[in-house]
């Protein structure tokens, strides 16, 4: 049955309506796949501003901005795409990046993702966390030899197997050369010549015109790799196209901004990943620690209050007034010095050190000849990352002075402590004749709660006998040590048998410049 004229007309009208709607919607929005982070909508050129907190300084800028509307941006994007012959930014992105970026990620989301990944690779989690990690790792490493079982990885047999393979590959290669009637390089297969004979072995050089040509020949090895990335020509082209697009778009944005300099300007104070170093601060009583600070702060003018202006031809208008914004301050602390001296650090961990000292003094009163000392076992690692995010405001006076107010903000902590191990030693002597009796010891380690400002001391369950005077029978002492007794002189015995006590972080120095110092901001002309 033929469709009626009315039906055809209806379809036509609907089609037109739909098409119009689609065009209207697409024209009203920024094209999909556009990455705002790759263009700068504001100028970066302005006056230098310095924020000083105690001994650290951050440098930022006070910049006069001219707003660019969404519509103006959209027109620029579309025109640039058309001029460069780009149909879809989204498609180009898909060729270049298979996985899209995640924004504002929480640790919970990462943990959830790990759980999802575990399920996706069909792994049933078990109690052994490391075994699970290795299993995931090896299920994602899909190029690896599938004949190698996960157990090989788990039980550390893999390395030896690989070494055997590498050694065998060399033997096979030598054998192959010999079968082909060729001689393998004499340098490692036969007894080598003395250096003087080596210098005279010019016959080997007949094929070489000069050493420089030979060096170039060696570096030609790179050409083997060319084919590997040529296979990625499409992706390379897409990446280059995207780079060209964003470069050209930036040029057009700058041009537009310069053409409308008097259009409702406003001022911004910005610290864009401004960094500062701080050295030699103390943590739990041990100096020599270092840190890097990174400040991101943006304060936008909300009200203009005066006619203050700069003697510069590229800015105009008033910067004086009130500003509001947000900041993120990241502190990356390298606590290597603290980790290198656990024997000192542990004495400053809360009441723990006080108890230890008290115990030592008491024991010394009983027998002053006895020795009590701590010694480090290895160079451990201690690292802390703190991120604080919050709001801030500023008031720029007409004189150019800046009054800054920073709210405390939300804090996130990440600690990485490992191998901060030490040994508690106790040497006993006969008080009557100073004869050495025995030396006992206990292993311990300073640890941190990963996401909290807390540390604790993790003691081994039992002490051990390091040395003893062979004249006497020490079985009773050994038995006591085996039961976790006898070594309680220098520490709180309760900690050895139960869950450790958690102690507050030493925050007296570590973040002092930001948390406890007066912050001053000024314009540096």
């Amino acid at each position: 049955m033929k469709p009626s004229r009315l039906a055809i007309l209806l379809i036509l009208v609907l089609t037109m309506l739909y098409t119009t709607t689609v065009i209207h919607v697409s024209q009203a929005a920024i094209p999909p796949g556009f990455d705002r982070s790759r263009v700068r909508l504001e100028t970066k050129i302005g006056h230098k501003v310095v924020l000083q907190c105690d001994q650290i300084e951050f440098y930022g800028t006070l910049i006069r901005q001219v707003p660019i509307s969404e519509k103006e941006l959209e027109d620029l994007i579309r025109q640039t795409m058309e001029d460069l012959g780009i149909d879809s930014l989204k498609k180009l992105n898909e060729i270049v990046n298979k996985a899209e970026q995640w924004d504002e990620i929480t640790q919970e989301e990462i943990d959830q993702f790990i759980q999802d990944l575990t399920r996706t690779v069909k792994l049933v989690p078990n109690a052994d966390k490391v075994a699970d990690i290795l299993s995931i790792l090896n299920r994602i490493r899909t190029n690896r030899d599938p004949t190698k079982s996960v157990e090989e990885f788990l039980y550390g047999l893999l390395k030896d197997g690989i070494i055997d393979q590498l050694e065998k590959a060399l033997e096979d290669a030598i054998e192959l050369l010999i079968r082909k009637g060729k001689e393998p390089d004499a340098l490692f297969t036969d007894l080598m010549d003395e250096y003087n004979d080596l210098k005279g072995a010019k016959s080997k050089l007949s094929a070489l015109k000069n050493y420089w040509e030979y060096l170039k020949f060696l570096l030609e090895k790179y050409k083997q790799d060319v084919q590997k990335y040529k296979d990625r020509a499409d992706a390379a082209m897409a990446k280059a196209m995207l780079n060209a697009f964003y470069e050209e778009l930036q040029r057009r944005i700058d041009k537009l901004r310069n053409s409308k300099r008097d259009d409702k300007p406003y001022w911004v104070i910005e610290f864009d990943r401004a960094t500062a170093q701080r050295q030699n601060f103390s943590f739990f009583g041990v100096g020599g620690n270092n840190q890097t600070w990174e400040l991101n702060m943006r304060l936008q003018q909300t009200e203009q209050t005066g006619e203050f202006s700069f003697d510069s031809e590229n800015v105009a208008g008033s910067a004086a007034g009130t500003y509001e914004g947000e900041y993120t301050i990241k502190t990356d602390s390298d606590l290597t010095a603290f980790a290198a001296f656990p024997q000192e650090s542990v004495m400053n961990i809360g009441v723990h050190g006080d108890v230890m000292l008290w115990n030592i003094n008491l024991a010394k009163q009983i027998n002053p000849q006895n020795e009590f000392y701590l010694e480090p076992v290895s160079q451990g690692i201690a690292h802390n990352l703190r991120i604080v995010k919050g709001r801030c405001s500023a008031y720029v006076l007409e004189s150019g002075e800046i009054q800054l107010h920073v709210e405390p903000g939300e804090e996130a902590i990440m600690n990485t402590f490992s191998d901060i191990k030490f040994v508690i030693n106790e040497k006993n002597y006969n008080p009557a004749n100073s004869e050495f009796l025995y030396h006992i010891a206990l292993d311990a380690e300073i640890k941190a709660v990963p996401y909290e400002k807390m540390v604790f001391v993790d003691y081994a369950d039992k002490g051990y006998l390091v040395a003893s005077n062979p004249k006497y029978d020490w079985d009773a002492l050994r038995n006591n040590l085996a039961e976790g007794l006898e070594i309680a002189v220098m520490f709180d015995e309760a900690e050895m048998r139960e869950e450790p006590d958690f102690y507050d972080w030493d925050d007296s120095e570590i973040w002092k410049p930001w948390d406890k110092s007066i912050k001053t901001m000024r314009i540096v002309k």
Binding site: K98, N143, K159, L187, L198, L219, D225
Partner: protein, 237 residues
């Protein structure tokens, strides 16, 4: 080559190529310095070397894929009549499949026949190349200690896994081995996969995504990385 990779936005491959050049050229330069010293130049080797890198392990760490640090260290020992140690170095070089088993020793003979004037001329050219390589600021030495099997990415991955077991699942030290494996073999998707998983467990999602994308750039059909990319897009908050 490193520059070509860099222009294509292939930063990991660029690091590989610059690192390979750094290890190869600097080791040859240190060998030339040693031969000059053996030939009577300078009161000490340090005096001949000057401010340039004088440590074989440090040079090799720029990229363990290059067999040349072992070759030139071997020749340096050879020139000092330390034949046993030299032979061990030559053997270590030969373990690396990139070493030319049939003709690899020729370069040793080439350098051995040069007199001090030739060696000085060669050093001049090599230091010029060294400057170009290091000025680019891309090559950097690995923190993974040198041994004769470090040219193998599989071996480095195995060391990384051992480190993971030893540290009870802490990726901080294992990451050094995984990243070195990536510099040694930047076209094998498995090495990106290790780094992506290590970054994930270290709580760095940006780096995870970076390694997945760079891995799929280098090895587009890699199953594990494609699976991760799919899941990342699916679960993106």
């Amino acid at each position: 080559m490193g520059e070509e990779y860099r222009n294509l936005g292939m930063q990991i491959q660029s690091k590989y190529a610059y690192g390979y050049a750094a290890a190869s050229i600097s080791s040859m330069r240190l060998c030339v310095d040693t031969l000059l010293h053996v030939g009577g130049e300078g009161a000490t080797l340090e005096e001949v070397v000057g401010s340039r890198i004088a440590d074989w392990d440090e040079i090799a760490a720029y990229n363990y894929a290059s067999p040349f640090p072992w070759v030139f260290e071997g020749l340096s020992l050879h020139a000092q009549d330390k034949l046993e140690e030299a032979q061990e170095c030559y053997y270590n070089a030969a373990l690396n499949p990139e070493y030319d088993l049939e003709n690899g020793g020729v370069i040793v003979y080439v350098l051995a026949m040069l007199d001090n004037d030739d060696l000085k001329e060669l050093k001049h050219k090599l230091t010029g190349l060294e400057d170009q390589i290091y000025e680019a600021g891309i090559a950097e030495p690995s923190k993974c200690p040198r041994d004769k099997y470090c040219f193998s990415d599989e071996y480095l991955n195995a060391l990384g896994q051992e480190e993971l077991i030893a540290s009870d699942g802490d990726f901080a030290n294992a990451m050094v081995y995984f990243e070195t494996a990536l510099v040694v073999a930047p076209f094998n998707g498995d090495n990106y996969a290790s780094c992506a998983i290590a970054s994930l467990y270290s709580g760095d999602m940006d780096k995870t995504i970076f390694y997945v994308n760079e891995g799929l750039w280098a090895d587009p059909d890699h199953e594990g990385l494609n699976l991760m990319a799919e899941l990342l897009n699916e679960r993106r908050p």
